[in-house]
Symmetry: C2
Subunit: 187 residues, 2 copies
């Protein structure tokens, strides 16, 4: 009898528990955006997103006043979820880097690439209107802005003034310029 009990514990330990741990850890890693948010709705920039997140896509803006490159990353699993559902999952984190560019005549032509970073925009998908009294939350997202001179200091004060203006043409696609994000269509 004792042996049987131990056998059950053994099976539980080898097969069931590690599987659970993996499932939980995967779920937490994927859409854990609210770990970046304090109780008042203040948003931190995720650490190591370049190593951990997946690319959504790049926009290169050619502008006589200075070219830019916009590179957008999403927390792991976001693209797979979007391909299945057509939506960003609650808790997904998007990070958009705004770079200046360098360019040179390389073997394939006049090539432009990201040089110094100027600004980060961070959005956290919020389906439940968690912070109705915070001016950085609304229209289904938490919105945040960080600048290169103080990369960890969130400096937006009102997403409608600091963020939304540039996103109005993308309102129908959840305020996100999805046309430049091939991974949302195909893995």
């Amino acid at each position: 009898m004792t042996l049987r009990i131990w056998f059950v514990i053994f099976i539980l330990a080898v097969v069931v528990l590690p599987g659970n741990q993996r499932a939980n850890s995967q779920r937490t890693q994927s859409f854990d955006g609210f770990q970046l948010v304090d109780k008042d709705g203040n948003i931190r920039k995720p650490a190591d997103y370049r190593d951990r997140f997946e690319l959504l896509g790049t926009y290169t803006v050619i502008d006589p006043k200075g070219n830019q490159m916009h590179v957008t990353y999403a927390s792991p699993g976001t693209a797979a979820y979007y391909r299945k559902t057509g939506k960003f999952p609650d808790g997904a984190v998007l990070v958009k880097e705004i770079y200046g560019t360098d360019h040179a005549q390389l073997t394939t032509g006049d090539a432009h690439w990201a040089s110094g970073i100027n600004v980060w925009f961070v959005k956290i998908k919020d389906e439940k209107s968690r912070h109705p009294d915070n001016k950085l939350w609304g229209d289904g997202w938490g919105w945040a802005l960080f600048k290169a001179d103080a990369p960890d200091k969130q400096v937006a004060t009102d997403y409608k003034k600091d963020c939304l203006g540039c996103h109005i043409p993308a309102k129908s696609t959840d305020w996100t310029y999805v046309q430049g994000f091939p991974v949302l269509k195909s893995k």
Copy 2:
């Protein structure tokens, strides 16, 4: 005595084995490029790299004959390894996508983004000259080319003719245009 043996097995099962599994799985995921190579040196394109790999960087080529966007991904952990050592690890996989582009006047200016994909280049870092008789291996890498009309068919026949020409200006940085890859400098 029997109880003690079961207890040891139990501890092994709960604490030690799952930890090992995680460590192995992490190591394999990172630099498992040779899983894509058969015994003759033929190279397959990695599946799901857009979801699994990390971005190295994007080049946008402005060209009167047709703009391009080049997006390069690396297998997980490659950037962290490079930041520590200044080298690509043996077995690292790089995937470069070559896209056509669309563009439009968006809120930030004349924005260019990736549209249809034309070509994939794949490189696998090989420090041990594993395939000296195969013309797709040399100069520290295995080299491969896939085209959109048959995305899984490797079509390069000689890396010196099909690949190396465009990479000569990047010879001193292991044949890779690292200047456009910010993650190699900072996470």
